[in-house]
């Protein structure tokens, strides 16, 4: 039974703690209300900035900015809320004058940042391409709060214009940067193209004829040369045949008309005869001595012929004969020994031959002083024919050689063809790549330029002020009514709490049951509190007395104030002012 709280317990509690409840309640209420009244009114002004889409659809011209609106707003926020900008505004509109002495500059700026509010307004938009609705920021509100409504309005507008400026600047910067970058890229690529072109032309030049496009013509040329060569070869062959035939013919013809010595035809070819005679002489010299009549005879014949023909060139024959003799000597020496007469003969012959050969060797160049000119017309004819054919042969051979070398050249070209082709293709490929890139960049530059145009003619996406900041008539803060209500609630809570604590600490006996529990004896009676009329009257009198006393005190203090502090009229005026303010605030709150 003790644990349940019945209504009579509550009534008793209230009765007991009346004073405590009321005093605490009114104390807190007073406090709260004073706060509600004393707090200065703060006005807030707001402006809405709309993020307007670009006027020309972005299918045609790309927007300068591809970020999300929120990011943009945030970045601009950082810019605008920078220290120097805010300092400017603070100085211009003389804000926070009262806080200048108390707070540092940084703290004032921090406070200002806190007084600026930015809120995104979002709406679901349908993405044209994917036709799905996305929630994007379409506008944002910018508000500023402060004590003076006029300056609040001005500051808000100023901030709004700062935002717009910052955004415009950003966008034009972006555009300019883009175009510049693209331009640079383009010129770089152009240079590359030029380099590549030079490379290609150099290559072409250096590999002229080996390029794949020349393969056809090369083959043609080769076949042509082949044909030519074959023709010339045929001609050559025929001329060679003729030459052989003529040579054969000329062999049968004596270049000189026959020489008559001693009335008889000595030799068809006196040169031959002479040669024979020389050799004869040498062999005779080896056997006989000089004084032998055979040797004298031969010598005589030789001198006669020589006077007619000239000294025949027998150098070669002699060298031949010398070789032969040497061989013979060696063989014979080996067989018969050095003292055999054959061997002695051969040794002598060899000695003479070598002497002759040596003599002839030195006089070889001068040996052909007088060549016997052939005077047989047939012979001469044949000789000239032979000469012409030989000339022809020579020229043909030369031509063929030239053709061969040409062919070789062209064959080489064809050989190199694939390798050259490969390299050439590489070069071409690189070139193509660069060219494609160039085209791309060129396109991009076009786009950027048109975006730039868009921006410059102010048709791009931009921030516009949808509604300018108005002059706030009513303060937004503090919520006096709210504070008052809160104060009431807090006062109530505090008073109940405080009283409950006091009640809890109060261990006095309150009910008969309590007493009965402590004592073993019954509670015989509960006697009510008796107040006589006299006591009531005297209590009332006491209250009156106290109120009167307080009034006296107030009156006295007013007199003192009047005398020593300020005239009551001034005080009244001041009070009136205060009262007006209070009334305003209360009135406004209500």
């Amino acid at each position: 039974m003790e644990n349940e709280i019945e209504s009579k317990d509550i009534k008793n509690f209230i009765r007991r703690r009346k004073k405590c409840l009321l005093i605490t309640f009114f104390l807190f209420l007073l406090l709260g209300l004073s706060i509600a009244i004393i707090l200065p009114p703060i006005y807030q002004s707001q402006t809405t900035i709309l993020i307007e889409e670009q006027q020309i659809s972005d299918e045609y011209v790309q927007s300068a900015y591809t970020g999300y609106a929120e990011e943009r707003i945030e970045m601009i926020n950082q810019q605008v809320l920078a220290r120097d900008k805010l300092m400017e505004i603070i100085d211009q509109y003389d804000l926070y004058a009262d806080l200048r002495d108390r707070l540092t500059k940084n703290e004032i700026i921090k406070k200002m940042r806190g007084d600026i509010y930015l809120e995104n307004i979002q709406a679901p938009l349908i993405n044209r391409r994917t036709s799905r609705s996305i929630i994007t920021t379409v506008a944002f509100t910018l508000s500023y709060e402060g004590k003076d409504p006029e300056s609040v309005q001005k500051v808000t507008n100023r901030l709004a214009s700062l935002y717009i400026e910052a955004d415009t600047l950003k966008r034009s910067e972006a555009v300019v940067n883009t175009t510049n970058f693209l331009k640079e890229e383009l010129s770089r690529l152009k240079k590359q193209i030029q380099i590549q072109e030079t490379k290609i032309s150099k290559f072409k030049r250096s590999n002229l004829g080996q390029l794949p496009e020349y393969t056809g013509s090369n083959l043609n040329t080769i076949s042509r040369l082949e044909e030519q060569r074959q023709r010339i070869e045929m001609q050559l062959r025929s001329v060679e045949e003729k030459n052989i035939m003529l040579k054969g013919k000329i062999a049968t013809v004596d270049p000189l008309t026959p020489i008559i010595i001693d009335g008889k035809r000595v030799a068809a070819n006196p040169k031959e005869r002479l040669k024979f005679l020389y050799l004869e002489l040498i062999s005779l010299q080896s056997v006989y001595s000089k004084k032998h009549p055979d040797i004298k005879k031969v010598k005589r014949e030789i001198s006669e012929l020589e006077s007619k023909i000239g000294k025949s060139d027998t150098y070669v024959a002699k060298v031949k004969k010398l070789m032969y003799v040497k061989n013979q000597l060696a063989v014979k020496k080996g067989e018969l020994g050095s003292n055999h007469p054959d061997v002695i003969k051969l040794t002598k012959e060899e000695k003479v031959l070598s002497q002759e050969v040596n003599k002839l060797a030195t006089g070889h160049e001068t040996a052909n002083i007088s060549k016997e000119k052939p005077d047989n017309p047939l012979y001469i004819n044949l000789e000239s024919q032979i000469a012409s054919t030989e000339a022809d042969i020579k020229s043909f051979k030369l031509a063929i050689q030239k053709l061969n070398s040409e062919s070789v050249k062209y064959y080489k070209r064809i050989e190199n063809g694939p390798r050259v082709e490969k390299k050439y293709n590489e070069l071409l490929r690189d070139f193509e790549v660069i060219r494609v890139k160039y085209r791309e960049i060129s396109d991009k530059l076009m786009t950027a330029k048109s975006t730039k145009e868009l921006e410059e003619t102010d048709r791009g996406e931009k921030f516009i002020i949808k509604s300018k900041a108005y002059l706030p008539e009513k303060p937004t803060k503090p919520n006096r009514l709210g504070i008052s209500i809160l104060a009431c609630i807090v006062a109530l809570g505090a008073s109940i709490g405080f009283s409950s604590i006091r009640e809890g600490l109060d261990h006095s006996l309150k009910t008969a049951d309590q007493i009965k529990n402590l004592t073993a004896v019954p509670v015989l009676s509960v006697i009510s509190f008796i107040v006589t009329d006299e006591e009531k009257r005297s209590a009332r009198f006491k209250k009156l007395f106290w109120s009167f006393g307080i009034l006296m005190v107030i009156g006295l203090s007013l007199v003192i104030v009047d005398q020593f502090i300020m005239k009551l009229d001034n005080l009244a005026l001041k009070l009136n002012q205060i009262w007006t303010i209070v009334f305003e605030r209360i009135g406004l709150a209500a």
């Binding site: 009965k516 015989l524 009676s525």
Partner: protein, 283 residues
């Protein structure tokens, strides 16, 4: 001179009679009681006393009302509470065949005197009893509490128990009837510093014995003394009484104090408590 002398002599005579009959005032009439009734104690003789020796100080009823002696006024509804107390007290006293009560409390100013006086007056309203109300609170007068004569009866009674205990006066001289039938007061008199000792003195014992024996059955004696936890007076007095009543003030006496008081009243004829100054409407 003769008139004066006559008066003086008459006075002596009266005193003389009074010396024999200590307290007895002449009963005006007394109905005969049958022995059977006397045994049952249910039927008591009506007592109608004419105070011959006891001083009579007629107190105005408005003064009495101001003094919170509500038992006299039937228009105040709170007297039922007093009546309840009276009935239970009398029952108890009957049970133990006693007639002396002690009224005390744990702390001062809890309403002992108020209760004592009202109880006494209430008992006196019963047509078959008389009450002797003794103010045994001989402590120094405080701001709030002088003695019951001053506080409750609105008059000044300077002579009282203290005088008797000091041997300065005799009881018959000190008794006062405040104009209420069947109620006699013995005021406290001057406050004494050694009240506890005096209350335990042989003179006090003598007084108590005399009171007791003389009026058993008819007269109820109520001692109103100082608070238990303040001083030893109440403990001293508790030796002589038949029943002790403890007054508890609502919302002022703490449980600890009550317990202390209980300790002190162990093995004493403590028979009940009274919750006084209750502000709750329902108990």
């Amino acid at each position: 001179m003769s008139k004066l002398r006559k008066a003086l002599e008459k006075a002596k005579e009266n005193r003389g009679i009074e010396n024999q009959n200590f307290y007895r005032d002449i009963k005006k009439s007394q109905k005969p009681i049958s022995p059977k009734d006397r045994e049952n104690d249910l039927c008591r003789p009506e007592i109608d006393i004419c105070y011959s020796q006891t001083k009579i100080k007629k107190i105005e009823s408005h003064v009495l009302r101001k003094g919170k002696i509500i038992s006299l006024f039937h228009d105040i509804d709170k007297i039922d509470e007093i009546k309840t107390l009276r009935t239970q007290t009398l029952n108890f006293l009957n049970k133990v065949s006693g007639n002396i009560l002690l009224i005390t409390s744990a702390n001062p100013l809890e309403g002992k005197t108020f209760t004592a006086i009202n109880l006494g007056v209430s008992i006196a309203q019963e047509l078959d009893r008389t009450v002797l109300l003794v103010d045994a609170d001989l402590r120094e007068h405080t701001k709030y509490h002088k003695d019951f004569a001053t506080d409750f009866f609105g008059t000044d009674m300077t002579e009282g128990l203290s005088n008797y205990l000091l041997g300065q006066a005799e009881i018959p001289d000190l008794l006062v009837n405040p104009g209420i039938e069947r109620l006699v007061l013995l005021p406290a008199g001057r406050p004494l510093p050694n009240s506890a000792e005096l209350l335990g003195s042989p003179r006090m014992v003598m007084l108590v014995n005399d009171i007791k024996s003389r009026y058993s059955g008819d007269r109820i004696i109520i001692f109103d003394c100082s608070s238990l936890l303040n001083c030893a007076d109440a403990l001293v007095l508790s030796r002589y009484v038949d029943g002790i009543l403890l007054i508890v003030e609502q919302e002022r006496t703490t449980a600890a104090e009550l317990q202390k008081a209980m300790e002190l009243l162990k093995e004493k004829p403590f028979f009940g408590t009274v919750l006084n100054k209750s502000k709750s409407k329902v108990y």
